[in-house]
């Protein structure tokens, strides 16, 4: 049961096909819905769709086009900015909330834990509709606020603010999920460490700095990687808001929206597949670099 069970146990494990039997059903579906589409999109990216003449082999030239496509870079720059600003804010809030709930110095900690987590259970579509209404100048809170102070400063659905507005929605949706990851990791810190710290006369902040934060490092790494992946995939929130304000959010607002609109509006499937692959590679590289850095810090 213990986390430090002797590794010798492993040697007693039967090496047979029983384990493969347990794993096979997953692997079959996995191959069908994950591996095959990846291979298929790699294949597609080598062709070009033309209105006249159909599909023709073009080698790697789609990749060249993507790398020289200002719309692609526009979207990539936007999600990059989003990532650099929104992710640290969201994870910072989640971290503070987790530390507060775990501190034992909060009245009604379980109420707070549930309340902070609750937005995660709200369907993304509903979250965006809800915030979209609240942002709106028809019957939203932004309109109410503007009426109240007799101006129109609060206009979240206009170009200068739209990225902030989207960042707020994403933060609201996922701060509780990340809080829970951190909180779970905090709960796994052995009790005796705290007792030792108390004997040494360490205060709360000192415990946070010397025990809790170091123990949270792996959890922070995984939350960061998931958030990076999420940011690069940004689609639902801008795409739904776009139906309310088509003039503010372009069809290539994020790379994912660009790929979506290319294939389902423009029928340019091969080019869309190429963008998807490039984004997959970019995401994997950045997630990998972050993980490497995290590990180096953990070692030092």
């Amino acid at each position: 049961m213990s986390a430090s069970a002797p590794p010798a146990v492993a040697r007693r494990r039967p090496r047979s096909f029983v384990g493969l039997g347990f794993t096979a059903p997953f692997l079959l579906v996995f191959a069908f819905v994950l591996i095959t589409p990846v291979v298929y999109s790699l294949y597609l990216s080598l062709f070009r769709d033309r209105l006249i003449g159909g599909r023709s082999f073009v080698g790697l030239s789609n990749y060249g086009h993507v790398l020289g496509d200002p719309k692609f870079w526009d979207g990539l720059g936007r999600v990059g900015l989003f990532l650099a600003v929104q992710v640290p804010i969201m994870l910072g809030l989640a971290l503070v909330a987790a530390l507060a709930i775990d501190s034992g110095r909060l009245r009604g900690a379980s109420f707070f834990r549930m309340s902070v987590f609750l937005p995660y259970a709200v369907p993304g579509v509903v979250a965006v509709l809800m915030w979209g209404f609240m942002y709106g100048d028809q019957f939203g809170l932004a309109a109410n606020l503007n009426d109240l102070i007799g101006s129109d400063v609060f206009r979240p659905m206009t170009p200068p603010w739209i990225l902030v507005a989207i960042g707020n929605i994403v933060t609201w949706e996922f701060v509780g999920y990340n809080m829970l990851i951190f909180y779970s990791a905090l709960r796994s810190i052995p009790h005796d460490l705290y007792e030792a710290a108390a004997l040494d006369g360490a205060g709360s902040l000192r415990v946070v700095r010397s025990i809790k934060l170091p123990s949270l490092r792996p959890a922070i790494a995984i939350a960061t990687i998931f958030s990076i992946i999420g940011s690069f995939q940004l689609f639902n929130e801008p795409n739904i808001l776009r139906t309310l304000i088509p003039s503010v959010i372009s069809t290539y607002f994020t790379p994912n929206m660009y790929a979506y609109n290319l294939s389902f509006v423009g029928q340019q499937y091969a080019y869309a597949a190429t963008i998807a692959i490039v984004m997959g590679v970019v995401t994997a590289v950045i997630a990998y670099v972050v993980q490497l850095r995290g590990n180096r810090e953990a070692r030092s």
């Binding site: 590794p7 997953f26 309340s115 259970a121």
Partner: protein, 320 residues
């Protein structure tokens, strides 16, 4: 210290995976959970409580806005302050309208969502449980490759696959069928990972060995003994799979064009779209009330199963 605790998961047990594995660390929380939160100094802090209360206002305010506005008529929505009640109390009437609108299409969407959740999330949990258990408790040829591929898959942007998946499914004639939603939902690499991590500690080898000596087959042991030990992990995976399928938007958006197959998420967005375009006839009151109805079941589920998923998540409390 972190190394001592976190290095204990899958890697040192000789799980294959080479370089990748050694770098991955897993915290096994179930090992020595604290019964109560520990405060080193002082009792409850008012300042901290107030800060958290403000934060809670942020997380709950939109939900309050939604509930309050679900009680308003379409007219009252436009003429009233968003955070307080106004006009006749129309919630019951709104609910009635939601269910009656368009010959009760909302009921159809609700049924579709339930079907996708039961088949998709249920199936995903079963597959992840089998596979995670198989990987945690047995050695078999090719296990190292499975490890690498599945962990790599966690990092693949799901939506990046959407376009090729759509094209592939359309060649197979699967688009615009329920299978286009259910089949891709069946795979949860993260769920597999969680069960794997959980099973390493939750199911002791001694028990499997004892069952073997008693002449029980591996599958029988799994169904009669191991499943029960894995229960908190399974509930956790199930809950998160339920949320993922209940909230699924992108996949049905690209796969489905027949409104009779829509889940709630797509349906609500379609209603919302009625407010724009040439023949605009907004039904915001129905969108808002429908949203409330779409949230309630999932929130209730989370509240009821709180004890299970919190212990399951603690045990899986995962790190890369």
């Amino acid at each position: 210290m972190s190394a001592a605790v976190t290095d204990s998961g899958i890697a040192p047990r000789g799980t294959p995976g080479g370089r990748g594995t050694r770098r991955r660390r897993v915290t096994i929380a179930g090992a020595s959970p604290r019964a109560h939160p520990v405060g080193i100094t002082g009792g409850p802090s008012n300042r901290l409580t107030i800060v958290m209360a403000l934060f809670t206002v942020y997380t709950l305010l939109p939900l309050a806005w939604l509930l309050i506005n679900a009680t308003k008529t379409q007219q009252a929505l436009f003429s009233s302050f968003g955070l307080w009640f106004s006009g006749p109390f129309a919630f019951v009437d709104n609910v009635r309208q939601v269910f009656a609108f368009d010959d009760g299409i909302f009921v159809r969407w609700l049924g579709n969502t339930l079907l996708y959740v039961v088949a998709g999330a249920g199936g995903a949990t079963v597959l992840a449980t089998f596979a995670g258990y198989g990987l945690a408790k047995y050695d078999f040829p090719g296990k190292r490759a499975v490890f690498g591929v599945v962990l790599g898959a966690i990092a693949i942007p799901g939506t990046a696959l959407a376009v090729p998946t759509f094209l592939m499914f359309s060649q197979l004639g699967l688009t615009n069928t329920i299978w286009a939603i259910i089949v891709p939902s069946l795979v949860s690499p993260f769920g597999l990972y969680l069960i794997w991590v959980y099973a390493v500690d939750a199911v002791p080898y001694e028990i499997l060995e004892a069952a073997r000596i008693d002449g029980s087959g591996e599958w029988r042991t799994f169904f009669t003994i191991s499943v029960r030990m894995l229960a908190p992990g399974i509930v956790t995976v199930l809950l998160f799979a339920v949320v993922a399928t209940w909230n699924n938007y992108f996949l049905p958006l690209i796969m489905l064009s027949d409104p009779n197959l829509f889940p709630l998420t797509i349906g609500l967005q379609q209603w919302n779209l009625r407010a724009t375009g040439v023949s605009a006839s907004p039904i915001y009151n129905l969108v808002i009330t429908g949203s409330v109805l779409a949230i309630v079941p999932i929130v209730v589920l989370f509240l009821f199963l709180q004890r299970y998923w919190q212990s399951g998540l603690a045990a899986g409390s995962v790190k890369a």
